[in-house]
């Protein structure tokens, strides 16, 4: 019978491990599990390489409950998300929304979306202490916002040549969220760094479904808000703010045309009315974005409503 030590040696260069760690069947004390340790789960063994981290605002934010691993039986990279029942306030503009991290919710969505290429793939199973561990396949892709940032062209060229294809894929991604909503589920943390562009297929893939919040009056509001933010980024090839425009003479000239009602209802410095900055953006698309602006009287209540307005925009771009 193959020992865990033999498995480790088969798939991991010895030099990369400082020492052989421990084998954990109970992941409750996830802070103690680190590089070189092995998590034994469902008859498989996962060699821990490191804790995952999110890079936001130039800072590394370690996620000690998320382990980058190698599955020793197959040699495949996996991400193991361990149980961490966290409660915190998500800050959106000036508002704070109480948020909860739910392993059960993420596990449910992984089951619901198995085989659907619009969502990260994985499964969950309990460890020896009954903790719901999610075993996630690493998405073979790049963060969408970084991919858009990397396009080396001016906005008119970007909008004419790249944006129609990007919008088509984004509509597909919105359909994925509408699918969740139709099943009574929320993504919960729609941000542009949670949407990846698959290297092979070019399709957009949602990741990280473990956030939830109490929202019975508007159950999908936070998701719909997140979709609008991503759309703004994609249409503008970046976020344009009063501060960023004020940095150049041309920008200051444009800024003079921006009215208070043109800014985001949540972030009062973000310009939602892109028509003022890029007059060639079709009015229909600008109107969609303006549903997220201070000047709007009616907000989208669901991804479906957003899609109903967004699809004709793509048709218009393709026809132009």
């Amino acid at each position: 019978m193959t020992t865990v030590r033999e498995l480790v040696e088969r798939y991991q260069a010895k030099a990369s491990l400082q020492s052989y760690g421990s084998v954990y069947q109970d992941t409750t004390e996830f802070m103690n599990i680190g590089n070189g340790d092995v998590i034994a789960l469902g008859g498989r063994h996962y060699l821990v390489l490191r804790d995952e981290a999110e890079r936001r605002f130039g800072m590394e934010d370690p996620k000690f409950w998320v382990k980058r691993c190698t599955e020793l039986e197959s040699g495949e990279k996996r991400i193991l998300k361990l149980v961490f029942h966290e409660r915190f306030n998500m800050k959106i503009g000036d508002m704070e929304v109480p948020c909860y991290r739910s392993p059960e919710k993420e596990a449910r969505i992984l089951d619901m979306t198995r085989g659907d290429p619009r969502f990260m793939q994985g499964f969950s199973l309990p460890d020896s202490a009954g903790n719901n561990v999610r075993v996630i396949e690493v998405v073979f892709g790049r963060r969408l916002d970084l991919a858009v940032d990397a396009l080396d062209c001016d906005h008119p060229t970007y909008f004419a040549e790249h944006f129609p294809g990007i919008l088509a894929n984004f509509i597909d991604a919105c359909e994925a969220i509408a699918f969740l909503h139709g099943k009574g589920e929320r993504h919960g943390d729609i941000r542009r760094d949670h949407l990846f562009r698959h290297y092979d297929t070019g399709r957009y893939v949602w990741i990280d479904f473990d956030y939830t919040f109490d929202g019975s009056a508007n159950p999908f509001g936070v998701d719909v808000f997140g979709l609008g933010n991503i759309l703004l980024f994609l249409a503008g090839k970046g976020i344009h703010t009063a501060q960023s425009l004020a940095e150049t003479p041309d920008g200051r000239e444009l800024l003079a045309k921006v009215a208070p009602q043109d800014y985001s209802v949540m972030y009062r410095y973000r310009i939602m009315n892109l028509e003022k900055l890029f007059p060639y953006i079709p009015r229909a698309l600008c109107r969609v974005l303006q549903h997220y602006a201070v000047g709007s009287e009616v907000y989208y209540e669901s991804a479906r409503e957003l899609l109903d307005d967004l699809r004709p925009c793509l048709d218009g771009l393709r026809a132009a």
Partner: protein, 150 residues
Amino acid sequence: MNGKHILLAVDGSQNSLRAADYVGEVVRGGPGFHIELAAVLVPPDRDIFPDPALFQAERDVRARDAAQALDTARQSLLCKGVDAAIIGTRTMSCLDMDVAGTILAVRGECGCGTVVVGRRGLSKAEEFLLGSISSRVARHAKDFTVWVVG
């Protein structure tokens, strides 16, 4: 649709009490009215209360709050001189995580021609993220009247 059959949605907040007071002022002594007092029971989210004991405890608190909201609104109507015989009460479980949708569904069930809700006075940002029940009820109104009491 009978406009004198009124569905008054309450949740124990000051806004819904104001709505109850207003309905009491309008209805008292008038002929042909019926007031259906309704409280929407929003169950706690299992994802937020993964511990079954905490879930049940929160569920019990919410059920008590709903019963209290109905009782307070009923007392308010009686204080205004509304005849007890024309007041009905019901607690309804929230459907599909949607309070406004549940109110509308109950209105259809009891055939009320008027729906009365209080208004929380949310900012635009709050309305966007948290949602406004009164706005949603008004937005989806068809073939009946909505009174929004601010």
